[in-house]
Symmetry: C3
Subunit: 311 residues, 3 copies
């Protein structure tokens, strides 16, 4: 593994999950591996779980952590080639990525979708350019189109909680007052392709995800039908892909309720808006795995950092 920006960068998902579970049992077993090594965490957006769990993971490996909030603390970056740089973007990613590669052994980056320009978001200017110009491994802490550390944590959680030979897993769209990116849903779907599971997606008409990503997966526009006999229900809002970046707020009926959930386990990446995405009764019942998913973020990140350090 030379980088971790997609689930497909993992040599093998099942091995990764098993090794992450081993790290969870003994988090400090490799505390000398990262000695004298530095990980840089670059945030272009807010973060709670990602920020703290990645720091924790790095500390567990004995690494130094340098956190940088790019917007506030450093210069605005230019990503275009050949520009006459006369705007507020005072540093080119070419220099920034090369320079940071000299201070950091691994660079982790969070840069959300802007949701204004589909082509630009799909092109992943921040991540792509850091991969191109950095000379050290890049880790995706949630980019415009993917959040693979979350998906790996989700795979760990499913592995820990699953009791069936072939569980039924449903990704169920939820309402939200703000337009949200597709990253979490995309990576969850990518990850589910490696699982022996009965997997489907349910969302309202007009909210189908990128057809390249959902190809071959059943999409139901009838939530009730999709949820039937589910073992795991992963709830998540995303804005329209077709009518890019738009959000329809009059669809409260898609909120996850205890009744709809039935006996299934409830999953969400957090942060979650209570009584909009899911009702309190869902989040406060024993079937909710959200806190454990967040816990597994540490071991998801630790597996990735450890693997990159070993290469």
């Amino acid at each position: 593994m030379k980088k971790f920006t997609n689930i497909s960068d993992l040599k093998d998902l099942n091995t990764a999950v098993d090794e992450a579970i081993a790290l969870k049992k003994n988090p400090r077993a490799h505390v000398t591996l990262g000695e004298g090594k530095t990980v840089g965490l670059l945030f272009f957006n807010k973060s709670l779980r990602t920020r703290l769990s990645t720091q924790k993971a790095a500390n567990n490996l004995g690494m130094h952590v340098m956190v940088m909030n790019f917007g506030d603390e450093a210069w605005n970056l230019e990503y275009e080639d050949g520009t006459i740089m006369e705007t507020i973007r005072s540093e080119h990613v070419k220099e920034a990525a090369k320079v940071m590669s000299q201070y950091c052994d691994i660079i982790c980056i969070r840069a959300f979708a802007g949701l204004e320009n589909k082509e630009e978001d799909q092109a992943e200017p921040v991540l792509t350019n850091f991969i191109k110009y950095a000379t050290v491994p890049i880790v995706n802490l949630e980019s415009a189109t993917g959040h693979p550390l979350q998906a790996l944590a989700d795979a760990i959680t499913i592995k820990e909680q699953n009791t069936k030979k072939r569980p039924k897993v449903v990704l169920s769209w939820a309402p939200h007052p703000k337009a949200l990116p597709h990253a979490v849903a995309n990576s969850f779907i990518e990850m589910m392709r490696y699982q022996d599971a009965d997997f489907c997606i349910t969302n309202p008409k007009g909210y189908d995800l990128d057809p390249e990503i959902t190809k071959g997966i059943d999409i139901y526009h009838d939530q009730e039908e999709a949820l039937k006999d589910a073992d795991f229900v992963y709830v998540k809002n995303w804005c329209s892909f077709e009518d890019y970046g738009k959000v329809n707020i009059s669809t409260r009926e898609w909120m996850m309720t205890k009744e709809k959930l039935g006996d299934a386990k409830f999953m969400h990446c957090l942060p979650i808006r209570r009584n909009i995405v899911a009702e309190d009764a869902v989040l406060d019942c024993d079937q909710s795995l959200v806190i454990e998913q967040a816990n597994n973020r540490t071991y998801s990140a630790q597996y990735v950092l450890k693997t990159l350090l070993e290469n």
Copy 2:
């Protein structure tokens, strides 16, 4: 000790002071105690002494430190139960506190009073909810109504500087252009209840603190009378409790001067507005203990973190 959010959480103030003084003599004596342990410092407000002294204290104990400026770096938190979360508050404290408890062995929080709603401030929504939902010990880095790490540092300072059997200590109100919270004064008063001292408060009419907190303590509205034969004068502004959050800026006569101070030691928690709260001559004379109070913040925090780690 399971948490430290009030002076009353200390098993015994005198023991705490003595142990803190021992730590000050040998700050790195317990540098392996915190190995592999992490303290999270959550700031909802600005900080200089608290931010740096708590980091220093944690480092002295060999702990990892993760600092998070909540407002800028993470999501706005919701504290109400049962809300339909459609405002900018996109994460509930229930999730945030539980999640962070998985990354941190101790969580320290600064969340000032808003000074707009007395009932809300008295209810301490941030601190109370973190205590309720977190599964690790909580430390108060100044909440709406208390600043016990400062009060413990003040107790250390008085112990180091006192030469009398039963010193006279006066808490003296000072003017200030901005409305300031009651936290420092409240905790100082709480701490003084454990001291063998002649303690009184002096403030203008209309500036009496919460009567529940000052119960049984002499309050003088005549500053000169209160300051007579004082050994320690703790100067601090606070806004009106009665007329909650209001500030009367036309009371320059309450500023501490060298003349009023006499031979007493001068104390203040900092930051201090020179020539408004106290004149330069007070801050620049040998009787001022403010720099030493700030120094003792490190050992106050270190005692608390050490005690929580040992439990």
Copy 3:
């Protein structure tokens, strides 16, 4: 060495360069030197290289690092003596510097020129007052008038790259859409005084730097003439010193091009605006040393921190 705020604080530039190059070969050779020691990095302005390279340098020496973004995280500082502090500046540098000296073994400060008041910038209120009131060594991470850590890194880079007995080094002004400080240019000039080199400056009329700093150095207003037979060309924008803080944006002809550069090595402190300060062809060719200059920032900082720790 008691502080490092100017190149002249170095006992000997050549020794510093040689020792920095030795640290570069074996960065972790002194990893126990800083054990239990803390460096505070105070930022009043943005930073990428300085922030990360100084952290890296401190980590290489085994020090703890505490980063503080003063504007956002702490109180606004007052620098004037005797003021009645009723503005937004709620803490005096006297207290701040003394207090921080108790938490940090070394304090490093970045505080750019405001470029509105020449006398104020020349007086260096932040740096001067921290030097005056702090009780620990101060390191300049770029002040209003100097950036000596950059100049030391530049000296390292020249030493590594130079093949001539007495190279010709040219400091060449470049256009820029924003008014920029003189700090980098000033320190580069100060550093060049210790070099056995043929050194000159070239800038448009009206952009001569502080005559006290350039005294005795040839200044050409004809860039072509100055660049003839150059071995190293250090390109940098600065605003007018005479017409203080003003910028003339209609001087695109001063941009560095591959043609003008000839066979010389290209240097710049970064961040750089491509195709304004220098064209892409300059930055992307093998003659560009900018990435290596940034790399050397780590060893420049590490030499300074190590020397201060040893004293």
